[in-house]
Symmetry: C2
Subunit: 398 residues, 2 copies
């Protein structure tokens, strides 16, 4: 049986191959510090569960295709607080940020169309772009420059007649890069000048550690036709399993096209949308506390990394990831070795090897992504284990 060329261009999660080694390490009694995944350990605010429990309708019916009105109203109010006026028709509820992104890409990309994405990037972008038949053209960055990409001279030479869009993650996964106001403006300008869509994945918006005001590409009125925002409650409220995302655009025709997909798949989950709507009522205290917690974790991580000779890592400004260059030959091999051969007092560590985050073959081989989603004490110890691991790996006999 033959499969589509599109699906054959997609790949399984690059993390998946470590599962057998992970299970084997656990079977040997190893404790593993998991810095490889982006599942926050922060409690989901009770408001979600309360709303779900209070649902009284005898029939769990379809929601309206664009979303439950309580949820759309909540999202509208949230953006109004950021100083961004949206009509409810500028907002669709989706099955996670993933579906919002899939919808946007389906509306925009035809077979062979190109989309610029700064690399390293979230590996699932590969899947979402490939199934449309589109092609990712990476905007190159380096660890030495802190993975910054908002640079006209770097981006414009990559634009050609096939380019349809630019996709950025801001704050960045995997890099933690946060665009400055000037850099945001520049990205919007480039999109406008070249007639491109600017898809801005802003699911980590609240996770900024330099006191920056919360920002969105949707704030540029003059680029309203270009900007498409992908948003989600998953990280904002630590409610990843709810699968409630948001597609936001003031481009009316884009929303009219996307509505065809919304109607086709009928709706996002009704109860989860009601729970999500309630989450938008949590106060700013919630965000301050969460932000401070991650801020401390980031600093703990950076402190640990700074003790390891040869590591290149500029302090990330947002999200809860950092990307670092390690003084090892190949982080993929290093990860396997850490699980198979290494232990430090019975403990080892997992990260996400860097290569899977790059579109350019061969890049990122000595880099890793670390998710700082553990408590501080655990993170401190994980960094110690990592340091000992690097030392032992580099002095092993081959």
């Amino acid at each position: 049986m033959k499969f589509s060329s599109k699906i054959q261009r997609c790949e399984l999660s690059p993390m998946r191959k470590f599962l057998p080694y992970e299970l084997a390490a656990e079977a040997k009694g190893r404790k593993i510090y998991h810095l490889n995944i982006g599942q926050p350990d922060i409690e989901t605010p009770k408001a979600f569960f309360d709303a779900v429990k209070n649902f009284q309708d005898p029939v769990l019916a379809y929601a309206a295709a664009p979303g439950v009105s309580e949820f759309l109203t909540a999202v509208q109010g949230y953006y109004a607080n950021l100083g961004i006026h949206l009509e409810q028709s500028d907002i669709y509820a989706t099955a996670g940020g993933s579906e919002a992104l899939q919808m946007a890409l389906t509306c925009i990309l035809d077979e062979g169309d190109e989309i610029l994405i700064p690399e390293p990037f979230y590996p699932n972008y590969n899947t979402f772009v490939s199934v449309t038949g589109g092609v990712i053209r990476p905007i190159p960055t380096t660890p030495e420059e802190g993975y910054r990409y908002a640079d006209r001279a770097r981006i414009e030479p990559l634009i050609n007649e096939h380019t349809r869009a630019i996709l950025v993650t801001n704050p960045g996964n995997p890099t933690g890069v946060v665009l400055s106001p000037e850099e945001m403006r520049l990205m919007a300008d480039i999109a406008k000048e070249h007639g491109l869509f600017l898809i801005s994945d802003e699911v980590y918006r609240e996770f900024v550690y330099g006191g920056e005001p919360l920002a969105s590409m949707a704030q540029f009125d003059d680029a309203a036709e270009n900007v498409v925002v992908v948003d989600s409650i998953s990280k904002r409220f630590s409610a990843c399993g709810a699968r409630v995302g948001i597609l936001v655009s003031r481009n009316r025709e884009l929303m009219a096209q996307a509505l065809k997909i919304c109607q086709g798949r009928l709706c996002a989950a009704t109860l989860d949308q009601l729970g999500a709507a309630a989450l938008y009522g949590v106060g700013s205290d919630y965000f301050s506390a969460v932000r401070e917690e991650y801020h401390r974790r980031r600093d703990t991580c950076m402190e640990g990394l700074s003790q390891i000779p040869g590591v290149v890592c500029e302090c990330p400004k947002g999200a809860f990831y950092l990307m670092a260059k390690l003084p090892v030959d190949d982080t993929d091999k290093f990860q396997t070795w850490l699980l198979e051969e290494f232990q430090d007092n019975g403990e080892t560590v997992m990260f996400a090897p860097g290569e899977g985050f790059y579109g350019t073959p061969g890049k990122g081989r000595d880099e890793v992504r670390l998710a700082y989603i553990l408590k501080q004490a655990d993170l401190r110890r994980a960094m110690e284990v990592l340091a000992h691991g690097i030392e032992a790996y580099n002095s092993r006999k081959l």
Copy 2:
């Protein structure tokens, strides 16, 4: 800004254009009998809400990409009761049957590939196929023959070098056609002989009214490589808003390809999957009661239709829809007129005009789909209103 050719080939729901007329009729105080939508009025079993309320984890985390194990186990047990042995890896939890179908089509269809679908068919199939770049080649049927399509002489001439799959809905939406065991075997044979995937949308499996044993294309061991089943809890347990569907196939490579998409979109909603798992524990009494209720409703509908001169409608054997040819020139115009001009004791009726269910231009113009999802007394009255409407429409002065 330019949009993809794929999305431009998709259409908004054909029902959507009646909304302004519907609202205007309601504003005039008209009571409308809604036979136009497939939202059941049956109560969702309490087990769903109980499971959701009993969730105790402090963090609503991502589920595993293929599904929550409680849910996969429940589905596996359900199929075992049908005599079909599935591995858990043959089952993925999806965001409704819609996502299961989208996954299957994405894995199979490239730009220009063809898929055979008996017409009339569920209009959202248009969207799901179009976004892959594929093309629907309709298998023609007629109201006079009860919309039956399982006929080698009718299907084989449509197969060419671009054909990749056959998609059937069994029991059928919009026609209510239920394949006999021999017809199911024939469809599987045709798929096998021509090396095609047979995608079988079986979300109405329980809704059969002739005492037939529950059936699935997954029962044919010799066609395990060809068969892909799309399933869902939406209709089975009247839980449409949960958006929990199921992709089933014993074609290992198909499931390996689809896993790329599962991982890309992370997971289906965690809580809803737990609720869905609990639903599989409701006893057979539940299904008997629901089946009897719809059986009575179908008979009420058919009785009403049989009183209307000129209607062509063979009694449907399953699902909760019927497709009928009405003695009017154009059911689209007739629907508009029913909402704008007509009333019978202050009441009118809505159905789904037939044209939107056809792939062949111009077909179905004198047909309608009726969803018998109202209580018997309401259905009886709705049929009366329809009969009076047809009479008045055909004797109006133009």
